[in-house]
């Protein structure tokens, strides 16, 4: 297999447990986001925008919607003769024990890693939302002759302690310590879950970790080896959101209403690709009133919508009022219904005149295909 100098690995299920409602029937990677995307679109686009044309996606459960979404990778131009998209669902043989951690998962695809011949691997997760210039990070990795590069964002905003990865850096941007699951009140360098690592080192580390029965490649392996190797940090200076809970998902969605965030996340020179649906443009009716909204194609809006995110194919009938809501694909809102702080999953339907009120603290959630 001839492949690019750099290959990608995406963990599709990391953080599944943070968005329990949205991941009941799908992986984190296929959680809808931003009116027309799935979370994995950001990781895949980041990789292909850095001319990476070989990407392996590791998934362990709930991957039907993910397979449906990524298909053969054509929407990211990953349908290639050389390289392309590889989907790795669990593959249980006597050689592989269980499939419970990232060490096992990487061990399970070590053949792919060694066959790739790409000298560098970029490992990503889908629960961090950012448009990252991976090319620049790889260049830095090579220029610094680093063994491992960890991408981070300086942020003060992370209040949820779960799954945080905090880097301690010296003045040369060398990583001196990695802490997990800590709550840092002050500004810190938070890991973006993007790791650049040399292929030989990656193979060596996973073989060893597997023998030693370690579980997590990041907490149990990388964090412990920081001083053994040249591990550097690379700062991503633009927008990034950490999706760790229903709240942070909602907040990141609403961040899109800010023009600055849109400019950074939808950087026109690094487009975010997604599966296309051939919807017609969105139609605004004669009585439509739309203020401060992000809207995908294929919607029909006859009512009032404020501060909301509408996914493809949402229908809002006359007299309905929708505020502070996230309505996913094909949600339909009947005439004169009133919604505030509602998050609806795909194909939800709200009947005529219904009143659904969540609060800023507690959103009203409508399950996939649910009729209210």
């Amino acid at each position: 297999m001839r492949a690019s100098a750099v290959a990608g690995i995406v963990f599709a299920n990391s953080g599944d447990s943070f968005l329990k409602k949205l991941t009941a029937k799908r992986s984190m990677a296929s959680v809808p986001f931003g009116a027309r995307y799935r979370l994995i679109d950001f990781a895949l686009s980041n990789l292909v925008n850095a001319d990476i044309n070989t990407v392996g996606i590791i998934t362990k459960e709930n991957y039907r919607s993910l397979m449906d979404h990524v298909g053969n990778g054509v929407h990211w131009e990953l349908d290639r003769k050389n390289g392309g998209l590889y989907l790795f669902p669990p593959y249980l043989t006597s050689g592989v024990k269980k499939y419970n951690g990232t060490v096992d998962a990487l061990y399970g695809i070590r053949e792919f890693i060694s066959r790739c011949q790409s000298e560098y691997f970029v490992i990503c997760h889908t629960n961090v939302l950012a448009n990252i210039d991976i090319s620049a990070a790889v260049e830095e990795h090579i220029a610094q002759e680093a063994d491992i590069t960890l991408l981070y964002k300086k942020s003060a905003a992370v209040t949820e302690s779960t799954d945080n990865l905090v880097l301690a850096l010296d003045s040369c941007n060398k990583v001196t310590r990695i802490d997990f699951d800590v709550s840092v009140g002050k500004q810190a360098a938070y890991g973006l879950g993007v790791t650049i690592i040399n292929r030989h080192l990656l193979l060596e580390l996973i073989e060893k970790a597997y023998e030693e029965d370690l579980t997590d490649f990041f907490a149990d392996v990388l964090a412990k080896k920081v001083r053994q190797f040249k591990v550097i940090g690379f700062e991503h200076k633009e927008y990034a959101a950490f999706l760790k809970s229903a709240d942070s998902y909602y907040q990141a969605s609403m961040d899109l209403l800010d023009a600055d965030v849109r400019r950074q996340l939808f950087n026109r020179s690094r487009p975010i690709y997604t599966k296309t649906r051939d919807d017609m443009p969105t139609r605004y009716g004669t009585k439509a009133e739309v203020k401060n909204c992000i809207i995908a194609d294929g919607c029909v809006i006859e009512g009032t919508v404020r501060n909301s995110i509408l996914f493809r194919g949402v229908k809002i009938e006359r007299g309905a009022s929708v505020e502070n809501c996230i309505l996913m694909q094909e949600t339909s809102i009947g005439a004169d219904a009133q919604l505030n702080y509602v998050v609806s999953d795909k194909n939800a339907a709200v009947g005529k005149g219904m009143v659904l009120k969540g609060t800023q603290q507690k959103h009203f959630f409508i399950k996939k295909n649910e009729i209210v």
């Binding site: 009116a35 017609m280 443009p281």
Partner: protein, 404 residues
Amino acid sequence: MKNKKCVAMLLAGGQGSRLGVLTSKIAKPAVPYGGKYRIIDFPLSNCANSGIDTVGILTQYKPLELNDYIGSGKPWDLDRISGGVHILPPYQGQDGEGWYKGTANAIYQNIEFIERYNPENVLILSGDHIYKMDYSKMIKNHIETGAACTISVLEVSMEEATRFGIMNTDENDTIYEFEEKPKHPKSNLASMGIYVFKWDKLKKYLTEDEKNPDSANDFGKNIIPAMLNAKELLKVYRFNDYWKDVGTVNSLWDANLDLLNPKINLDLSDKNWRIYSRNTGMPPQYVADKANVENSLITDGCEIYGSIDYSVLFENVLIEEGASVEYSLIMPGAVIKKGASVKYSIIAENVVVEEDADIGADPAVTGSEGWGITVVGANLNIGKKAKISANKMITESIKEEETV
């Protein structure tokens, strides 16, 4: 090469001169339509949805953008191992091949292409109509009647009939006469420019027509009359759904605004008959707090801060605060800056309308005398406070405060 039952040949080489500046750089089939489509998406999607997987696209005038748009044919599911979409430009050869002299000559010069698939029938389409049509029904009808040629027709009013090619038929829908734009029409069956021919018949008449140096090598003017003279069986196929020729500025504008009229039967959201287009990967549209959007079609990549009424906005359009757009088409990448006003106009791709410029006019204000749609050509700049009245075709940038 696998044999095909039917091969479609799409005539896409016309200049479309009546669209003026809109086709100065691109062929008519590549003209944007309906927010995210181009005219050619309609015949191509109809082919894909009708199960026709082999389409030859005959290009001649300004083909660059059209070629680029069609690419491998992937968006229309026409990238096939056998068949698929093929761009067929004119070519040099030893037997006097060269520029396509007429619609029939264009097909004649590509007999070799069609023969590769050895089809029973050939479907001739053009790239300047907006309609959703199941060609397989027409072809089925054509096979059942055993006609040499079946021509799709639309019933129009008798007044309109004077503007069309009219088929005069007997009670069995057999054509006995064809009249181009008759002053006194005998029938109201207008040709839609969609023909199904038995391939052996078509090949025969194309070859004969080519031998006649006086022929215009045109389907309507030469091939159909020759077949009628020879007493071939020609049938009409009646189509009674939405169909519009978008060959003029007014008809293009009308056909776009038809999408906003609930009484007009052109539903592009029908999941069983998708109209496919090439997607460019723009983010979703944003409608701001101060925006006012009513009765409009808006697509990906647009950012709306101003007010929009009764308009179609194509991808990646920016409407700044205080700008207003009414009864207009704003094509991809155009920017309408603060305080500018656009009415009854077509603003082509990547035009920048500077602050407080004023383009077009409402016929209710100016009166219908001399009124018309104003068109601004692609990539032009309309200066601050410039004023452009109704019925203008703008081909060069307009300076600040200039009045046109």
